[in-house]
Symmetry: C2
Subunit: 328 residues, 2 copies
Amino acid sequence: MKTTIYDVANKAGVSIATVSKVINNNGKLRQSTREKVLETMEALNYMPSMMASALTGKKTEILGLLVPDISNPFFSEMARIIEDRANDLGMSLIICSTDDSVEKEQKYLELLRRKQVDGFIIASPLRTKESLKFLHEEKIPIVLLTQDDPELGCPSVSVDDFKGGYEATSFLASKGFKDIVIFAEHAHSSKMRIVGYKEALETHGIEASKTSIYRMTGIIENGYELMKQLIESNRIPEAVFACNDLISMGVIQAAREKGVSIPDELALVGFDDTILAKTTVPALTTIAQPIQEMGKRVVDVINEEIKEGIRIEERILYNPKLIIRDTV
Amino acid sequence: MKTTIYDVANKAGVSIATVSKVINNNGKLRQSTREKVLETMEALNYMPSMMASALTGKKTEILGLLVPDISNPFFSEMARIIEDRANDLGMSLIICSTDDSVEKEQKYLELLRRKQVDGFIIASPLRTKESLKFLHEEKIPIVLLTQDDPELGCPSVSVDDFKGGYEATSFLASKGFKDIVIFAEHAHSSKMRIVGYKEALETHGIEASKTSIYRMTGIIENGYELMKQLIESNRIPEAVFACNDLISMGVIQAAREKGVSIPDELALVGFDDTILAKTTVPALTTIAQPIQEMGKRVVDVINEEIKEGIRIEERILYNPKLIIRDTV
DNA sequence: ATGAAAGCGCTAACAT
DNA sequence: ATGTTAGCGCTTTCAT
């Protein structure tokens, strides 16, 4: 049998209340008692069950993290930062990949709710405001990551997508390109990037063509397929702005396969600045998100909500940063 | 207040036992009763607490996954497969990155133990057999991933590292290279890869030089630093066999920076076959691990241990596969 | 300073 | 077919 608080109490010759006090380091105890209990705990290799203590109203010290796909380097890099910070604060992470699917999102939200996670960090595109609203009403801490929704009334940590889109496009336009297309995601974040894209085009006096905005789920295959199609149908643009690094990889692969040289015949700007941007060749010019800061900050925000029980309403925006490498 | 089983029982006009029965779908109930309860559960948006039910001896449906670093694409790709399979079986994943540190490993093991995870999947190098043995004695299901330890007596899912090392080296030798060095990890897996490396050298009548085996933690920086050093001190080998894709990326970067052409002046074989191998240029010739199969299998094994309560003693070995691309 | 006891939300005998 | 009740391992209030 697993050793419980009773075993410790018995062996130490005290009551379970006393043991509980030394576990939680509260209440007044004689130093000698505390030590004796500590020793027996050690000797019995006792580990308090968090399930039991969670049942009595304490926290589970578990956070739920929803991402579109943990195997996307952007999210795994982010997850790593979040994990570390959460761990500093004594919390663990349950990670769920939703694949942009409403069903999975619903399912995971419900599951995590049942597992009594202390809070949710949601980095996957919000497909169902309904379920989120519900959680929100139940006063379960939620913070949005990589997206922002004024309606929901919950804090968010994201990058200024408008600015990112604007800068990427502006950079391209300043290099003299006119025919700039955008490969955007279905995610919320892409909406504002598209707006930034249009704005930059306008600033540079370029007319946005109706057929230059493509939307897709942000995986390599989609970037690859679309680029290939464009090349094959002889609709090669001068430049593409891809809304994440994965899509950019697809573009690079299609271009190489079809013998279209980057940056000579095609310029490319990505978004995220993951490991992929640094290891591909030509190295990817991309809009960097401050993953470190965002990851750390998001857990600090949720931690505050959890520990203090207060509702924070801050929507934190970070500045994206253009990293110039070799694809333009 | 959160709605509990009592609320449902009250509203439905039945006892909590009845509600419990419909939740768990057992016991004999009149169809009409079941429906009535189901309806009230729906109406109240009731979600049974897994904490409470775990306390009564049921499972938590949570698995602990220890990896060296979730931001390493090999592990995030693996984690994704594991997550999906676990989810099929109704389980969630707590992911912990240990960074090859004994302290973190200990700490996470203890933490997850306290959180009553149903089982552990351990893909991080085993630094402390002690704590693992302890868990093992407590009959908590453990399965080793990416490593194998006969002493521990727990099941494992791994790739035949000897064979992988042998094939990588053999391939290089067959191309006529004599001066082949190996960049190995500190991880357990590298041990057998080194043995395979030596064996292949011998088979091809090449004498293994004492100074051709380097060990490091498997991150880009280390591959980069070592390769740079080698180039700067004019000790450029004909070929390097890097024990993971990350190290390979470092080698590629150092070579490019120093103007050493791959594959013309330096041949390179990696290990893992992650997304990086496909997106870098020249695309990496590497030893592929069957991530899909391994990930799926490892959760099936642990699931069996958990659900059936049986001790499985199988050590499953997959065959690595040489993927020829452009670095040799 | 320490202990007794109630209760957290649920399950599983055992009664009815 | 349904209900009563005793735990599960812990926290916390209230006595002592």
